[in-house]
């Protein structure tokens, strides 16, 4: 369990990066919260800095896009999924439960 921030500190359209190993990105996509591995599966770039549109985040380096619900790439150049993690809110605070290596992979 990792406490991320208060719910009101992550407004819709925003994202935050957790310095876990590997780092995780938490998104507020129009009110729905998602967490995925932060590093693009194509090349080293932080998805938390990406362009969020609906449930899809576009990598800021090469425009690979990922579905936040599944972690699957929705277009090239990424070909491998990123792991997804569980997000929940408790007492107004966003929490992430990190997936184990076996879980969370959409592959």
């Amino acid at each position: 369990m990792i406490a991320v921030c208060r719910l009101e500190d992550l407004p819709a359209g925003e994202s935050v990066r957790l310095d876990t190993a590997p780092p995780v990105a938490v998104f507020n996509a129009d009110g729905e919260l998602f967490a995925i591995d932060d590093t693009c599966s194509h090349q080293d770039a932080s998805l938390s800095e990406g362009w969020l549109e609906g449930c899809v985040v576009e990598c800021p380096l090469h425009a690979a896009s990922f579905d936040l619900r599944t972690g699957r790439p929705t277009c090239l150049p990424a070909r491998r999924p990123v792991r997804t993690h569980q997000v929940y809110v408790e007492d107004g605070v966003i929490h992430v439960r990190l997936a184990t290596a076996e879980e969370g992979s959409a592959a």
Binding site: D44, S46, G50, P60, L61, H62, L76, P77
Partner: protein, 411 residues
């Protein structure tokens, strides 16, 4: 169209093959590559691959599953030698001929070399084999490395060499590296990355010769120093020559295609022969030849559409975009900067190169022409997107204008 040959098996060639299948071409698809390798990504070669952070399998651009889907014949390790007058037969250097209804030229560019005899210890960095050789030269303890050329390849290679613990000097002939790409003001700022990262940068320094020692019968020997035009001698164990690339058009000499620092194409990547299109580093599209990763991935969609339609039905003028990783910082640039554009720092400060980076926009007559970011990916993407939208609106207006002119002429 029953048979298409893609000449060039790198990024642009692979994307062209993908587009052919995605756009419904179900005929014979042959991809010819001069290198023995299946398509791989070049950007990491000067960065993670040199430092050891990125292993060779991670460079692969495709996998077995996709290869099966593409259903292409791969002829690797074979160089194209000629294209016949009608642009329908590709001749390989081993004498094989490939008959095609359509040809995609994606032969890329090759690294420029310095004149003079070949010396061991002197490298260029363009291909996987180049990168393997350079990496082998860098694993035996600290070396004195001289990088000739302060462009992106030079700067990234220098940065990787510093990370590996080598003593690095970058020699740049111009007064400022990257001035053509970034403009003098921002080029000056970014040149500071070398000093911050721990490399020496010598500017306005032309190279007259490479000095070597050892066997000379075959012109061999090992490099010992780089001689500069002002007489200075820089001792060197390893020299990396990063002085740019030239388009691979030699094999097209004698073909009817128009060549001028690249294969000349219209805005739709179509050459002077309608059944031949060109993409990537080798293509001069609408007057511009861009050696950018994004051009190589964006042009094939339009090129293939026009090839299958047998004439130009769609044009592409993607917004130029490139990035570079140097000394732990990420530089991103997008847009079309003009001489005399003013630069405005929108976020952060260029004085504190390492401290959080900065975002700069280039402006002309109240409009943003380009954007540069150092470690500011998020705001950069925002401005880049706005530039892309503005460019699309301009194109729309241009088309509208042409239509009005046509209508006026017709009436």
């Amino acid at each position: 169209m029953r048979a298409v040959t893609v000449v060039g098996a790198s990024l642009a060639g692979l994307y062209a093959a993908r587009e052919l299948r995605a756009q419904g071409f179900d005929g014979r698809l042959v991809v010819v590559g001069a290198e023995p390798h299946h398509p791989y990504d070049r950007p990491p070669l000067s960065k993670g691959f040199l430092t050891g952070d990125c292993a060779e399998p991670q460079l692969a651009l495709s996998d077995a599953e996709e290869a099966a889907e593409l259903d292409a014949e791969w002829i690797l390790g074979a160089r194209a030698h000629a294209l016949d007058a009608r642009g329908r037969t590709v001749v390989l250097d081993d004498g094989r001929t490939l008959a095609s209804d359509g040809v995609v030229i994606a032969t890329g560019a090759f690294a420029r070399h310095l004149p003079g005899p070949a010396l061991t210890g002197v490298h260029t960095l363009r291909t996987l084999d180049d990168a393997r050789a350079l990496r082998r030269a860098l694993v035996h303890g600290p070396r004195r490395v001289v990088v000739i050329g302060g462009g992106f390849i030079g700067a990234e290679t220098a940065s990787s060499c510093v990370a590996l613990g080598h003593d690095v000097t970058v020699v740049e002939a111009a007064q400022l590296p990257l001035a053509a790409q970034l403009g003098a003001e921002m080029a000056f700022v970014c040149a500071g990355l070398h000093a911050r990262g721990g490399a020496r940068l010598l500017t306005g320094a032309g190279v007259t010769a490479l000095r070597g020692a050892g066997p000379t019968t075959l012109g061999g020997g090992a490099v010992t120093a780089v001689e500069l035009s002002d007489g200075r001698l820089l001792p060197a164990d390893v020299v990396v020559v990063g002085i740019g690339a030239a388009p691979n058009t030699g094999w097209l000499t004698g073909s009817p295609l128009a060549l001028d620092d690249g294969v000349l194409c219209d805005d739709g990547c179509v050459t002077t022969l309608p059944q031949v299109v060109a993409v990537g580093d080798v293509a001069r599209v609408g007057g511009d030849r861009a050696e950018h990763w994004t051009s190589a991935t964006e042009q094939p969609r339009v090129a293939v559409r026009n090839l299958l339609a047998r004439h130009t039905v769609e044009t592409a003028r993607p917004l130029p975009y490139f990035w570079s990783d140097q000394y732990g910082s990420r530089l991103q640039f997008a847009g079309r900067r003009g001489e005399g554009d003013t630069v405005r720092i929108v976020e952060g400060s260029p004085d504190a190169l390492g401290g959080g980076g900065f975002l700069a926009v280039y402006e002309r007559a109240g409009r943003t022409t380009a954007v540069l970011a150092l470690d500011r990916a998020r705001p950069f993407t925002k401005v880049r997107r706005a530039l892309m939208a503005a460019a699309a609106t301009d194109r729309e207006a241009e088309r509208e204008g042409e239509y009005m002119e046509d209508a006026a002429r017709a009436s």
